[in-house]
């Protein structure tokens, strides 16, 4: 720790010295490059998440002061954002110069040629290329926004893991530890397997009941009418049982059912579903009405001892006393795994959870590509990252991890950034499907029926696999 701090401090000293001499020439670049685009206004649409608000409130005004190019950022809700960007790009209207691309929609956009190839664009316009911007600065998360040739289509701006959060105060309580040991014969430590996780969850739910506390053993993002539950199962639960890419096999004619070579209704999928439902049953009563929002709030309110929580929320849960009751009592760990899954993830054949995030891309229909290219480079620079990472916990550039501010923040977050840095490669984004939302929506109603108990897991997953295949045939992907 002290070594890291020293290293960080010396790095900072170096940066400061370097900045002093470079600063002027860099400011010079932005000024000169932006000269022809004075008075231009570029417009972006994004979700009103903290990282985007930071762009609107901090980076855009900074950029305008530096270059004279005005940046308007429209922040809207998650549902609306896609629709607005898609309508604009589909009709080629050119309302937006920048659009937020969530990692799961990029393949749909690329398939339609909605986005501008940033690598190629900057190569064609060397005068616009900022010396302080380099694609190599990004973490591997940027790979999700590249096409097969390695051209980048979006400047990463958010990156999170869906992690296993646990309450360090409860897990570290000697009385609880001994009670747990007496009951189970094991030490109370974060679970490595599903059985261990279930044991801990049951223990804390019983513990909460026995002590008349509002405490349960696990969270469950199990909304019965919102796709959040679908995502928890396919992003974070099924992979830990070895069901990857929703159980659809893109190399085998997009097969979903086991009969055709898919895994959507295979035994692992059923096991994952059964396990997850059993966890849902001992989670707080609001779980069947919980999206990602409520799961974060449930954990932040101290109602769960452990759970899978989106990294977006891990930040405020662990550090924001205005919103969270468990500040400083949160630890992070890798999710519990079935046998062999870790090995598959290590070798790149599988993954253990969701690497979530988004980037800013430039619609093909933008009418201010030059100015937009400048701004996208501006927000991709190493220099702007540390403050951004503290304001809204997200890291997109490798160098950001070493910044002293971020190192300090990492401590507050219970080592969350270390986990991203060291173990991020075990996680994966959404599968490279251009039909993401379509198949999700086609299968979600059946999924909700499983949650409600109207369908048994096997029966429901059979129907989901059939519905997925039917939709893929309709769309023309499955021949």
């Amino acid at each position: 720790m002290s070594f890291a701090l020293k290293l960080g401090a010396s790095a900072l000293a170096l940066t400061v010295a370097a900045t002093a001499s470079f600063a002027e020439s860099r400011a010079e670049f932005w000024k000169n490059a932006a000269e022809p685009y004075q008075g231009v206004t570029i417009r972006g649409v994004t979700e009103s998440s903290p990282p985007s608000l930071y762009i609107r409130e901090v980076l855009a005004p900074e950029f305008e002061a530096l270059t004279g190019i005005r940046v308007d950022v429209e922040t809207t809700s998650w549902d609306q954002m896609f629709d607005k960007a898609i309508k604009d790009m589909e009709a080629g209207t050119g309302i937006y110069d920048m659009a937020y691309i969530e990692q799961d929609i990029i393949y749909s956009y690329l398939a339609r040629g909605f986005l501008t190839d940033l690598t190629g664009y900057l190569a064609d316009h060397p005068a616009l290329k900022a010396p302080s911007y380099d694609e190599a600065n990004f973490t591997t998360f940027a790979d999700y926004f590249k096409d097969a040739e390695g051209n980048l289509y979006g400047v990463p701006m958010e990156a999170f893991l869906k992690v296993y959060l646990y309450r360090t105060d409860l897990f570290g309580d000697p009385d609880i530890q001994s009670a747990f040991k007496a009951q189970t014969g094991r030490d109370l430590v974060p679970a490595k397997t599903h059985a261990e996780y279930a044991e801990i969850a049951q223990f804390f739910t019983d513990y909460g009941k026995a002590n008349d506390m509002d405490l349960w053993g696990t969270t469950a993002q199990a909304h019965t009418g919102h796709v959040a539950s679908w995502y928890e199962y396919y992003e974070s639960v099924a992979p830990t049982f070895g069901v990857y890419n929703w159980g659809i096999d893109p190399d085998n004619n997009y097969a979903a059912s086991t009969a055709n070579g898919g895994a959507m209704n295979g035994p692992e999928a059923v096991e994952a579903m059964t396990w997850w439902l059993s966890m849902r049953d001992i989670a707080p009563p609001e779980s069947p009405a919980s999206t990602w929002t409520e799961v974060g709030t449930t954990f932040g309110a101290g109602r769960a001892a452990q759970g899978l929580v989106y990294g977006e929320n891990a930040g405020w849960i662990a550090a924001d006393a205005e919103k969270s009751l468990v500040v400083g009592k949160v630890g992070v760990a890798l999710p519990p795994l079935a046998d062999g899954v870790l090995a598959e993830a290590e070798s790149g054949d599988g993954y253990i959870g969701y690497y979530d995030g988004g980037a800013f891309g430039m619609p093909h229909s933008s009418k201010n590509k030059e100015a937009t290219a400048l701004f996208l480079q501006y927000i991709g620079q190493n220099e702007v990252q540390p403050n951004w990472a503290v304001a809204a916990p997200r890291v997109t550039n490798t160098a950001t991890y070493e910044d002293p501010k971020v190192v300090a923040f990492n401590e507050e977050l219970g080592g969350y950034y270390d986990l991203i840095k060291d173990k991020g490669y075990l996680f994966a984004g959404a599968p490279a499907y251009p039909f993401h939302a379509q198949v999700r929506e086609a299968t979600a109603p059946i999924f909700y029926q499983i949650l409600l108990g109207d369908l048994a897991p096997q029966e429901g997953l059979d129907q989901m696999a059939a519905a997925a295949e039917a939709t893929l045939s309709d769309l023309g992907y499955r021949k």
């Binding site: 009563p285 069947p288 009405a289 039909f435 949650l451 992907y477």
Partner: protein
């Protein structure tokens, strides 16, 4: 005396606006409804597929289910609103202390946007921590979970709708009641008619046009309900509150199924028009002939 031309001049602005913002988009929707079109399919273009979408809709159980729950919703919500709204409107016809204040309070729900209403009711009904389930449990031992119980979610939405829109019915009925001439009532009382007779034979026929107008408005707004349901249940649990508005929304927005979504809309629009027309003809047409 007065030329018909003046009539058309007075009507013209309305017709022009509705043509450019109502009819033209409708024509487009009808056009699209004969195509298969999903911008994220292998072929992202619009492809003419004749009446395929319309054939498909007949066997689409998800759509039929959404029509079913919508009809239930409209029936319970609109009927309750009409009855409660009528009694409140009648009550407001009397004079009593503090009437202006009470009337203002009664209209307050109207000024809340559906997405706000949905949010507040969501927080009030969140299982175990919302105030309603909390006190239902504490005082009566009833456990209410809108995430697992379809009847609870459905009832919550009906009650929310009644809370939100009864004031509209009250207001329009007040406007109708205050414009009624007094003499038929006085005459009827002199003739010794009972309260019930007065209601069925004098009040109701006289306010029928306003009642029908109100029912129409509530009916079609209930059919278009999206925002508050979206906020409160997202259409769940399962598809218990997946009303046609929500169903179409999910078909068109996340699924980007523009072709089939348009077909559903055309059918829904057709069904609405037919049912409203029947209502209109049975309730109002005989009267206007008499006039």
């Amino acid at each position: 005396m007065q030329s018909k031309r003046l009539g058309w001049i007075l009507l013209a602005p309305t017709l022009v606006i509705l043509f450019f913002f109502g009819v033209l988009p409708f024509i487009y929707v009808v056009y699209v409804s004969f195509h298969s079109w999903n911008p994220f399919a292998v072929n992202p273009e619009m492809v003419f597929n004749g009446a395929d979408n319309f054939r498909k809709i007949v066997f689409d159980s998800a759509f039929l289910n959404s029509v079913g729950v919508t009809v239930m919703f409209v029936f319970f919500a609109v009927l309750s609103e009409l009855i409660i709204g009528y009694f409140l409107a009648q009550a407001f016809m009397r004079d009593f202390p503090g009437k202006a204040i009470f009337r203002t309070i009664h209209t307050l729900p109207l000024i809340m946007a559906p997405i706000i209403v949905g949010s507040v009711w969501k927080l009030m009904t969140t299982p175990s921590i919302g105030i309603i389930p909390h006190y239902l449990d504490e005082w009566f031992g009833i456990s209410m979970n809108i995430g697992t119980s379809a009847p609870a979610a459905f009832a919550t939405i009906v009650i929310m709708d009644i809370w939100h829109w009864t004031p509209l019915v009250t207001l329009t009925l007040i406007a109708a009641l205050v414009s009624l001439p007094q003499d038929p009532f006085e005459q009827a009382q002199i003739d010794g008619a009972g309260k019930r007779q007065i209601f069925w034979h004098i009040t109701l026929p006289m306010i029928a046009p306003a009642v029908v107008a109100t029912v129409f408005i509530r009916l079609m707004d209930a059919l278009r309900t999206v925002d508050e349901v979206w906020m409160l249940t997202g259409g769940g649990p399962g598809s218990a509150t997946r009303f046609v508005g929500v169903h179409i929304f999910k078909e068109v927005f996340p699924k980007t199924n523009y072709g089939y979504g348009s077909t559903i809309s055309v059918i829904v629009l057709y069904l609405t028009i037919v049912s409203c027309w029947l209502l209109y003809v049975t309730m109002l047409a005989p009267r206007s002939k008499k006039d």
